[in-house]
């Protein structure tokens, strides 16, 4: 067994990081066009992008917390 479960945990983190990166590229990066029709000011666009990015990062941290709890319950109670 050894490091296999930790490697799996790290792989889960990797997939979550890639998932957030994909979300930011697909939904947040083009928000100037999709939400403001290309007419938004840089400050407004950045504000909305920041808000969405913060929510995405909070979701990532929440997901990691869940993963950590499940992993610790499984490992440290063995």
């Amino acid at each position: 067994m050894g490091l296999a479960s930790l490697a799996l945990f790290v792989s889960g983190m990797w997939l979550m990081v890639l998932g957030v990166a994909a979300f930011l590229v697909i939904f947040v990066a083009p928000i100037d066009v999709t939400l403001f029709g290309g007419q938004g000011s840089a400050a407004n666009v950045s504000l909305v992008q920041a808000a969405i990015a913060i929510v995405a990062v909070i979701a990532l941290v929440f997901g990691l917390s869940r993963m950590k709890r499940i992993y610790l319950q499984k490992k440290l109670k063995q």
Binding site: L3, V10, M13, K75, Q78
Partner: protein, 334 residues
């Protein structure tokens, strides 16, 4: 833009400066620190031998000399910004080496290390996100002030056993350099070489059994330089992926104690030292979760064996970082 000959010559020069200076100056630093009684006990060994600390000053000499030479060869602002960020992070760590400071000091003070990257415009306006990039000219600046304290403290928090932090940085910097070479620029790639070769030289003295500890000055400068290279080299996400086990360690610790504190301030230790000098995971409910505690959940291990497991995990994560580079490269070619 550098021609191929200049690129190779500059690369050899900066690599040799950082490696040779740290390799040959560290024994003198060890003698000097021992003479000044600047030693700490190596807690996980029989009789707790005294080990000199910190190696930060000798590391900054080697790394700064290489970066200064590279700056005068290329006159590139990003190189200067990386150099200044590294020096500021070293100073923050050196203050922490000299005095016992509260847990919030390092992350807050490291905000200052991010300033040269912003002022000298070492960052791009696009955040490289593997599947594409996001044009965020305004958002990128606050992001820099998040990245540098995180990378600095992340490398600092993995410095728990002999040789772990230096070996970890060596492994993580390989995919980072590959990513900078592909998606960044030549000058930043050259600026990354001293980190790799300088840390390689340090590892000779830091590996198990350690002859010197890097201290906060050593680990913070390594982490901040790594973060600065990731930013200036348009390799932010690849840099984070290569650091994942260390990020996981910081995250587990913070999620357990729920505040920013120094490890020494935590009352319940995550691991316990057995009579045979092996380490075991603490069974205390209040003990913080750390990477080492998770590794020890399978059973007690010696310090060297734990270091080897962390090394294997770092190699695995470096492979994930290379997979991410391959994904990004494939998407770019579409």
């Amino acid at each position: 833009m550098l021609d191929n000959t200049s690129f190779v010559i500059y690369g050899v020069i900066v690599s040799a400066i950082s490696f040779l200076l740290i390799y040959f100056l560290t024994p003198f630093a060890i003698k000097s620190l021992v003479a000044k009684k600047r030693v700490v006990p190596d807690a996980h060994k029989p009789d707790k031998p005294s080990v000199p600390r910190p190696a930060g000053p000798v590391m900054i000499v080697g790394l700064a000399a290489a970066e200064i030479v590279l700056y005068f060869l290329t006159m590139n602002n990003a190189v200067l910004a990386i150099l200044l960020t590294t020096i500021i992070a070293f100073l923050v760590g050196y203050v922490d080496d000299k005095r016992v400071l509260p847990g919030w000091f390092k992350p807050v003070a490291l905000l200052g290390a991010a300033i040269p990257l912003v002022i000298l415009g070492a960052h791009a306006t696009n955040l490289n996100l593997v599947f594409g990039s996001a044009f965020i000219p305004l958002l990128y600046v606050p992001l820099i002030f998040v990245i540098i304290p995180i990378t600095g403290n992340t490398v600092n928090s993995i410095d728990v056993l002999n040789g772990v932090a230096s070996r970890f940085v060596i492994i993580a910097s390989i995919p980072l350099m590959a990513s900078i070479a592909i998606f960044g620029n030549v000058e930043v790639f050259l600026a990354a070489l001293p980190l790799f070769f300088g840390t390689l030289a340090l590892y000779k003295y830091h590996k198990f059994p350690s002859k010197i500890f890097p201290g906060d000055s050593g680990t913070l400068l390594l982490g901040a330089m790594y973060g600065a290279l990731a930013i200036a080299g348009s390799s932010e996400i690849i840099g984070v992926i290569a650091l994942l086990p260390a990020v996981m360690n910081s995250f587990l610790f913070l999620a357990s104690v729920k505040r920013i504190v120094e490890h020494r301030q935590v009352k319940t230790r995550p691991v316990v030292l057995l009579e045979d000098y092996r380490l075991a995971a603490s069974t205390e409910k209040l003990a913080p979760a750390t990477l080492v505690r998770l590794i020890l959940a399978d059973g007690p291990l010696g310090e060297k064996e734990i270091g080897h497991k962390i090394f294997r995990l770092a190699v695995f994560t470096a492979l994930l970082a290379f997979a991410s580079i391959a994904i990004q490269f494939a998407i770019l070619r579409l």
